[in-house]
Amino acid sequence: MSTVALSTPTAAGRAGRPGFPGTGHRNLHRFLATGVLLVGALYCLLPVLWVFMAATRTREELFSSFSLAPGWNGGLWENLRDLNDYRGGEFWRWAANSVLYAGAGSVLSVLVSAAAGYALAVYRFPGRGAVFSAVLGAVLLPQVALAIPQYLFLSRIGLANTYWSVLLPGILSPYGIYLMRIYASSAIPSEMVEAARLDGARELRIFRSVALPTLVPGLVTVFLLQFVASWNNFLLPYVMLSDDRKYPMTVGLFTMLNQGANQPALYSLVIAGALLAVLPLVALFLFLQRFWSIDLVSGAVKS
């Protein structure tokens, strides 16, 4: 008797919850919730959709017909060819520079962050608290405002307008160190390190052969965050570089747009360039989505 009395409210609760299919209330909720999400998705896709369409339109079409419709007169080919010819293929140079700055910079950044995060997570040593406080403080530092002092200092020591001036300041990522420290302390138990030590492994060897393989999901996450940050970086290369052959894509497209104010013909090239700037990153993300653990980013937030 008592079991029946107990189970009845439970069953009623299940049937009555809005998650049960078949009720009108539920359908309305589903419709509204799905609608809101789809409006959000559409809002986020709209500019990307527009750039796809606009890149297929010829210069004349760009300013005439409805601008969310594609062009059918070979506009895409024409725009890409013009972009390719722009100042003897300068756009491709910018693209290669972006790959260099973001690629090499992020790999180095991941290594530096992993080493520092590992040291903070695994060892107990004098000054550890001070270093970790410095890392936390540096996370809060406004990176953009720092670009001007970095320029003043690097131009003083004669490094401004070199590849190094864009590559080196981007390597240190306080947030990356913070994430690696959080990840290392949960992924590397101290028994593991001690066991390796007892086997006679030296510290560098333990880091390379025991710690790094364990840290891979964290490394991928920091790599992606850092890659996007430097691929998207604008102010630092914009102030550091005066030679346009060293520009990354963001600065290159910006200067093209600036000239476009007097030369509207350049707008078509800027649009084609924007399309080419977006594609690789979107592809990289869709591809790496399953490998990275954004849980880490939010996990760090919750700790």
């Binding site: 809005p18 919730a33 403080g137 406004p142 240190l172």
Partner: protein
């Protein structure tokens, strides 16, 4: 190259290795954070003075806090600061409100098309700020905007989204577009790490989705929300890329529209590194003080008791 430590027996902790592992980070910190910061402070206390009568000779000399008083008494500086705060007051609540809404919808069992929506809303994160502004700029620009075709049909006359009244919202929209997805993913993954027994218990108690979001999910999200608000605010206070990229398309954005733009103009258009350095120091300190107080006020736990 870390120095090889002496041999260790048992569980004794090595003394040199941690410092060796930290060396690259510390060197980079000193060279690209600490020293430039200190150098900027030095520069900001100096100025180029014209000495001697007639033609005069420009030479650099120590002037003390003179540059700071000049920057702080500049009307344009305060106007830019006001515009920046107005801009942040639009961007931060709208962006995080949308991020929270989408995260809750993705986490609820009600909505359909969740994977598609999640990926689509996250997509703008992969688009560089300059490129995003460029795309929206063309969508705003009356000659290339699809809105123009619409208003032509309706006969309402052209709407200029780049006029001085609409410009705050047009710039804010670019930032909201670019930042919502990343914050949504952070909030969404925090929600998913909540043990599902909590939700089951609430459902058994007859708790609906809306009630559950308000009474259980949002309180659980508070630490993540504090962090996202903090990081978004820091990013918003340094806004530069978006207005800078929109400038060629409109006359509504002046050189001093945002503090970061004024700093850039001082340093690179007016070739006055002293004023630029002072501006950068003021902006960095203001942001740092603001975020530290916010952090202390709202939540001491947010960053970790694990030091």
């Amino acid at each position: 190259m870390p120095a090889s430590p002496p041999r260790w027996y048992g569980a004794r902790v090595p003394r040199i290795a941690p410092y060796a592992f930290l060396t690259p980070a510390v060197l980079l910190f000193l060279t690209f954070f600490a020293v430039p910061g200190g150098y900027a402070i030095c520069i900001s206390l100096r100025s180029a003075k014209v000495s001697g009568g007639g033609i005069g000779v420009r030479e650099e000399q120590f002037v003390g806090p003179e540059t700071y008083t000049r920057v702080l008494s500049d009307v344009e500086f305060w106007a830019g600061l006001g515009r920046m705060l107005a801009y942040a007051a639009i961007v931060v609540p709208v962006m995080l409100g949308l991020a929270l809404l989408f995260a809750l919808l993705l986490d609820s069992s009600v909505a359909r098309a969740r994977t598609f929506s999640r990926i689509s809303i996250f997509l703008p994160y992969a688009v560089p700020g300059v490129v995003a502004t460029l795309l929206w700029g063309f969508l705003y620009l009356p000659t290339t905007s699809p809105l123009t075709s619409l208003t032509d049909v309706m006969g309402t006359g052209t709407i200029n989204l780049l006029c001085s009244k609409a410009i705050y919202f047009s710039v804010a929209n670019v930032a909201v577009w670019g930042g919502t997805g990343f914050n949504m993913i952070i909030l969404y993954t925090s929600l998913r790490s909540v043990p599902s027994e909590i939700y089951d218990a609430a459902r058994i108690d007859g708790c609906g989705e809306w009630r559950m979001a308000r009474s259980i999910k949002i309180p659980l999200l508070t630490p993540a929300l504090v962090m996202t608000v903090l990081f978004s605010t820091i990013a918003t206070l340094q806004v530069f890329n978006e207005p800078m990229t929109l400038r060629p398309l409109t006359t509504s954005i002046s050189w001093t529209w945002m503090p970061m733009m004024k700093i850039y103009r001082d340093g690179f258009v007016n070739a006055d590194p002293y004023t630029a350095a002072a501006g950068a120091v003021i902006l960095a300190c203001a942001t740092l003080v603001l975020s530290l107080t916010a952090l202390r006020l709202v939540q001491r736990r947010a960053f970790g008791e694990d030091r």
